[in-house]
Symmetry: C2
Subunit: 142 residues, 2 copies
DNA sequence: TATTGTTATACTCTATAACTATA
DNA sequence: TATAGTTATAGAGTATAACAATA
């Protein structure tokens, strides 16, 4: 039996958790033709109004990729573009009411989908887990 | 301020954690031209020798998607195919030594990449977090 | 000159559909 | 008949490169 460090152990729990969480979101998104990336964008737009380049950098994508992604989301009425007030080169992106409604619906569905996992922990442990994760992330918005 | 349930709070920590973990893995994989899906496949093949259809079902992908994915991985010498011993229709997939070496290298790099996050917790909290996650997953292999 | 965003092009990942071979 | 796997084809997501407009 190979000796594992504490950090290694944590990684071996974190990675499967991430894959399972993403798989659940991917499945729910697929029913509405939403990619994980677009769901992440919608999550960001819940409380921000970034410009294209900010969004691209935050997601680790190229500007050209953002253009295509936002094009498709805009055509579907989920997000909209508007010129930035101070920099005439820049374009702000924000959510439409339809997009906001969709995001809340997704949120609910993801919660339902992951309930079989999360509910293996009692309420106190759920709070403890949420607290540890938040401390680990030092909570930058995703 | 909207009232949130314990489960909702947990979800709002879990989803960003998953996105950040996936982003780190995606970035590391990209340097070696490995998609998240292929990394997940390699992770599975560390200790299993599934047939094509099993792999597809486990990942939530179509058989045709698996064919392409395994084709490319096989051409790169990371995995190999062999006929199943008992069912002549079936094909088993397994890792090559090169694939196994790559997986260990990736594992190390992901650990390094996430260290800035995980090390915000002390060793005791890291153990506690790993334990909670493992209990939540009831540890099915991913 | 550098930055913001878009367009054109190419490749990977994915699904659907049609097919062959075996159970 | 049903299942295992492959091939052909098409669409979404991504990157690179070239471009226009503004800083």
């Amino acid at each position: 039996m190979k000796q594992m460090t504490t950090r290694e152990n944590l990684l071996d729990a974190l990675v499967p958790t991430a894959f399972i969480t993403m798989a659940a979101m991917n499945k729910i998104g697929a029913e509405k033709d939403l990619s994980l990336t677009l769901m992440r964008v919608l999550g960001i737009l819940r409380d921000r109004r970034p410009r294209m380049a900010e969004l691209a950098q935050h997601l680790g994508l190229k500007k050209s990729t953002m253009s295509g992604l936002i094009d498709r989301a805009e055509q579907r009425g989920l997000v909209a573009r508007a010129p930035n007030a101070v920099d005439e080169r820049a374009i702000d992106v924000f959510m439409t009411p339809a997009g906001a409604a969709l995001v809340e619906e997704l949120h609910e569905q993801v919660q339902q989908a992951l309930a079989p996992l999360t509910d293996r922990l009692n309420a106190a442990d759920q709070r403890l887990l949420a607290d540890l994760l938040e401390r680990m992330l030092a909570f930058p918005k995703v």
